[in-house]
């Protein structure tokens, strides 16, 4: 039970496997030598950590550090980590500026990378690997906001939050009190589930409370780091405000499926996306059996509004700073480039629903049109083949509460389309763009595939 508890406490959200696919789109050229260097550094660091472990709880620490390294290795060995000279170099320039202004960071071995992951997040693995997801970068407004994000993750690392949390929890699950409780529970016949749940809940609440305290502490430390860089500290506020409302509609206008798929040869059917009665259709978002206090206790992060309020006084005295100090043009360029990069990563991670969603959004916004058209054709062909093989669910998520409404409509459409309707829709979609796509690698092949499926 102890092992499963450790796993429960340290579980890191799963990262999808890499699909065996041959894309036409080429990512920005990554620096593979650099990736290998980072990987070797992380490996050596892990080896050193394991060799310096004391006897106490050695196996537990080893398991956690091995798992952590696997996560880092997965990132660095996959196409997820961005090490292309331009993007990576830009990030290092920002890091250099921060470190130069904060001497205490000089000795910290940091590996800071962008990832091509779509979800708006940044994180510190606790052993020097810091990651800013493309899904976060595309929402940021200026360099100063990105600097705050980096400072926040650097602060976690600098303050040793991750290792402290690991130590605390390993010691807890190995404590006499905890072991006694586990032994007692293993002998109980009645109300075992409830008691185990209560025990886990107590531990989780405690861990999450520490996590929230760490976040607040990291924000304060990030402010101290940032203040010395000359960047505008008001960006902390605007960044947190943005994160509070982060949503794809900030980037794209909602998808109009009828507009993107309607064609002279095949009219879009409203029934494909019509609303149906749903179970508990008026249920509020949160129908958790937990009390509000319990729900709040489960949060890993304080609310953004609270985070802003805690820094308000400091921000008022922070003085003036700049929104851009390194390369405004490059910052804006990367934001644009990251959309297709992120979309393509979703394709490689086998989340075709999201890949299709971003591609249709680009098409509707008249951005990267050839790539978007090609991707839509390719995805619909895969949808056809996977549906034929009863595996549509492996590639496309299902409509559910909490997703953007227009994304849900797309997922609904895919669920309702019959096999021959996918083929007809795709072929007519390709026909619409045929003239504009002449010479685009892969498109003709996808169109031909779609045509053949009409008579399958």
């Amino acid at each position: 039970m102890k092992k499963s508890l450790l796993f429960f406490l340290f579980i890191i959200p799963g990262i999808y496997g890499i699909a065996q696919l041959k894309p036409v789109y080429a990512f920005q050229q990554d620096d593979t030598v650099l990736k290998k260097k980072y990987y070797e550094e992380a490996l050596q660091q892990k080896k050193f950590l394991l060799s310096s472990l004391g006897k106490e709880y050695k196996d537990d620490y080893k398991e956690i550090y091995e798992n952590r390294f696997e996560e880092v290795a997965d990132l660095l060995k996959s196409s997820r980590a961005v090490t292309s000279p331009e993007a990576h170099g830009y990030l290092q320039s920002l890091l250099k500026r921060i470190v130069a202004a904060n001497g205490e960071l000089n000795q910290l071995p940091v590996r800071l990378v962008f990832s091509r992951d779509w979800w708006p997040n940044a994180y510190s693995m606790g052993e020097g690997t810091l990651v800013v997801n493309a899904g976060l970068m595309i929402f940021l407004d200026n360099e100063a906001e990105l600097v705050f994000v980096i400072c926040h993750e650097l602060a976690h690392y600098y303050l040793n939050h991750s290792d402290n949390a690991i130590k605390k929890n390993v010691e807890r699950v190995n404590s006499e009190e905890f072991k006694k409780e586990i032994t007692r529970l293993s002998r109980e016949e009645y109300r075992v589930r409830q008691q185990v749940e209560d025990l886990l809940k107590k531990m989780t609440f405690d861990t999450r409370r520490h996590s929230r305290e760490n976040e607040a502490e990291a924000d304060r430390q990030a402010f101290r780091f940032m203040k010395r860089t000359g960047f505008d500290c008001q960006a902390i506020k605007t960044c947190l405000q943005r994160l509070d409302k982060v949503d794809d509609s900030l980037l794209f206008k909602p998808l109009d499926l009828e507009q993107v798929f309607n064609s002279p040869g095949y009219a879009f059917r409203k029934r494909w996306i019509e609303k149906e009665s749903v179970l508990f259709g008026e249920m509020t978002e949160d129908d958790s059996p937990l009390t509000k206090k319990e729900r709040d206790s489960l949060k890993t992060h304080p609310d953004c509004v609270k985070r802003i309020a805690w820094l308000e006084d400091s921000l008022a005295q922070s003085g003036e700073g700049k929104k851009f100090m390194i390369n405004e043009e490059l910052f804006k360029g990367l934001k644009k480039e990251f959309v297709p990069e992120m979309a393509e990563q979703e394709y490689r991670d086998k989340d075709l629903g999201r890949n299709l969603y971003y591609s249709l959004a680009m098409l509707q916004q008249q951005q990267n049109i050839p790539l978007a058209v090609y991707t839509v054709a390719r995805d619909l062909n895969i949808a056809y083949e996977s549906q034929k093989d009863h595996r549509l669910g492996d590639w496309f998520a299902a409509e559910r509460r909490g997703l953007p409404p227009d994304y849900n409509l797309l997922l609904r459409l895919l669920k309702r389309l019959r096999l021959e309707e996918i083929a007809t829709l795709n072929y007519n979609f390709c026909k619409r763009y045929e003239a504009r796509m002449t010479g685009y690698a892969g498109f003709e092949k996808e169109m031909e595939k779609a045509r053949k499926k009409l008579t399958d």
């Binding site: 340290f10 959200p13 956690i64 952590r68 996560e71 979800w119 708006p120 997040n121 940044a122 994180y123 510190s124 693995m125 606790g126 976060l136 994000v149 993750e153 976690h156 939050h161 991750s162 016949e189 009645y190 109300r191 075992v192 589930r193 409830q194 996590s211 760490n214 990291a218 994160l243 982060v246 029934r271 019509e274 149906e276 009665s277 749903v278 179970l279 508990f280 259709g281 008026e282 249920m283 129908d287 059996p289 992060h301 989340d351 034929k388 009863h390 595996r391 549509l392 669910g393 998520a397 299902a398 409509e399 559910r400 509460r401 669920k415 309702r416 019959r418 096999l419 021959e420 309707e421």
Partner: protein, 508 residues
């Protein structure tokens, strides 16, 4: 440990996984349906022991993509189970049965996910008897109980047969979900045996097919359609279905002309349903006063014989007789009848049994064989336009001695209601009737795969396609449940691991 700026996304999958199930084979689950449309699922399992007689039960309600919408824990007797669920477009009803107390509890949940009402009732002795001899007598993992029907956005109809020794009757209950209101209908006319089949609710009228038998051996039961007022439960009309023929309606459908149609087999006037062959199929249009608006009779040898090789006794070569499962009308006006074949054949087991016991064997010398699926296309006036047979593996059912003398059409009803041996599963239509999917189970003994399959015949915009998925798994038991049209939920129970795994698959 990863320290992040914000939280990360969750895993997206159309899967369900339930662990730490105390009694995996005693778990209840089912599709929550609105008509033929699946809206979600319920799972009800024992999650903890509270004391010697009490379990902690977990009830999980998911949407059709298996995302949990609600999960509640309750402490109740070990003898509690959920027999059935239904959804009427806004509200959900769950029928709990307490085997110890012999009580039914109907729990109604509103669109906001909160419990709205509870309707409780104690079972009569006759109802207990029926349950004991039917649902509870069989292994309950078959999940064969079916007695709750939705009335769109208004409430639910419960149709419950009951039995005491040789007396049969039935009870119809209505549970409103608009306000706390309930009525009960039981037949009051004299008779030894009643069978009441709920046909449907249309324009505020509840239609019930009632068969009244004068005695247990009565082969000519009186058949009538009874119409009840949905609001009050009061009888509005009773219409006998004997006219120029003896007509036994089996199902009701509302067609695109917004009229209700009842349909079933018909016999010669004065015919004996236990012995005689049916003449064919009849379709009656009926209004809310019980007035018959149209009658259409399709005989085996004339209308159906033109399209299939049907003998005058209703027998189709190799296919046998046809049992009509369902009817749907598509948006182009065509009507499709979905049926399944069955026939009597000699039973080697029965013959050996009879020879060995000098004719006193309990197994009949005849057995039933369930054969292929059939799809018959009619125009909007019920003229046969086309018929297609879909091959599948046949099932054999050994009959009890003496049943060789029961008429074949009546055996069809026995296959459906007593043996549950038809392979047909269900039919689903989409909202604008531009497509429907018929599903059935089969078994394949192929080079690459040997095991059970789940099959579909789909109609979409005038085109018919077929498909199948393999359902064999390494689980202790596996089930196929309906899902959104064209999809199924494959559910596996792993007894040793005390867990459930389920995932959605699409049929084409």
């Amino acid at each position: 440990m990863m320290i992040a700026l914000l939280m990360s996304p969750g895993i997206i999958a159309q899967r369900v996984s339930i662990e730490n199930v105390l009694k995996p084979f005693k778990t209840d689950f089912g599709a929550i349906k609105e008509g033929t449309d699946v809206k979600g699922y319920y799972f009800f399992w024992a999650s903890d022991k509270i004391d010697k007689n009490t379990y902690e039960w977990t009830l999980r309600i998911t949407d059709v993509a298996l995302k949990t919408l609600k999960e509640v824990k309750l402490q109740d007797s070990k003898e509690v189970s959920i027999l059935e669920s239904s959804f009427n477009g806004t509200d959900l009803i769950l029928l709990f049965y307490n085997d110890k107390e012999r009580t039914f509890e109907y729990q109604v949940y509103g669109a906001d996910g909160k419990k709205k009402f509870n309707y409780n009732r104690e079972l009569t002795k006759k109802e207990e008897r029926y349950l004991e001899q039917s649902y509870l007598a069989t292994d309950d993992d078959e999940h064969t109980y079916k007695g709750l029907y939705p009335v769109e956005r208004k409430g639910f109809i419960s149709n419950m047969p009951s039995r005491e020794d040789k007396d049969y009757t039935f009870q119809v209950d209505y549970f409103s979900t608009e306000k706390r209101k309930q009525w009960t209908y039981t037949p009051t006319m004299g008779g030894k045996k009643f069978i009441g089949d709920y046909l449907g609710t249309f324009n505020g009228v509840v239609y019930i097919e009632v068969l009244k038998f004068a005695s247990m051996m009565d082969g000519k039961p009186e058949s009538s359609i009874v119409g009840l007022n949905l609001e009050t439960g009061k009888q509005i009309f009773e219409k006998e279905t004997d006219s120029k023929y003896r007509f036994y309606p089996a199902t009701m459908s509302v067609m695109n002309d917004d009229k209700g149609y009842i349909y079933g087999e018909y016999f010669d006037a004065g015919g004996n349903i236990a012995k005689d062959k049916s003449l064919g199929f009849a379709f009656w249009g009926i209004d809310d006063k019980g007035k018959i608006l149209s009658e259409k009779y399709l005989s085996w040898d004339l209308e159906l014989g033109k399209h299939l090789n049907v003998s005058s006794k209703g027998k189709i070569d190799d296919f046998g007789f046809m049992f009509l499962h369902s009817m749907v009308q598509t948006n182009d006006g065509s009507i499709y009848a979905i049926g399944e074949g069955y026939k009597k054949t000699a039973s080697a087991l029965g013959i050996i049994s009879q020879v060995a016991s000098g004719g006193r064997g309990r197994v009949s010398t005849m057995k039933l064989k369930v054969t292929d699926m059939i799809l018959i296309r009619f125009d909007k006036d019920f003229n046969v336009k086309d018929a297609m047979i879909y091959d599948k593996n046949s099932n054999n059912i050994e009959l009890q001695s003496g049943m060789e003398f029961v008429s074949t059409p009546l055996l069809g009803k026995l296959i459906k209601y007593n043996f549950g041996a038809f392979d047909y599963a269900y039919t689903q239509t989409n909202k604008d009737n531009s497509s429907f999917t018929v599903t059935y189970a089969d078994y394949v003994r192929g080079k690459d795969y040997k095991g059970s399959t789940f099959n579909s015949i789909s109609y979409n915009n005038g085109k018919i396609t077929t498909d199948k998925i393999n359902t064999r798994s390494d689980a202790s038991r596996s089930y196929v449940l309906p899902s959104a049209q064209g999809s199924v939920l494959l559910l596996d129970i792993y007894r040793k691991d005390k867990r459930f795994e389920g995932h959605i698959e699409r049929l084409n």
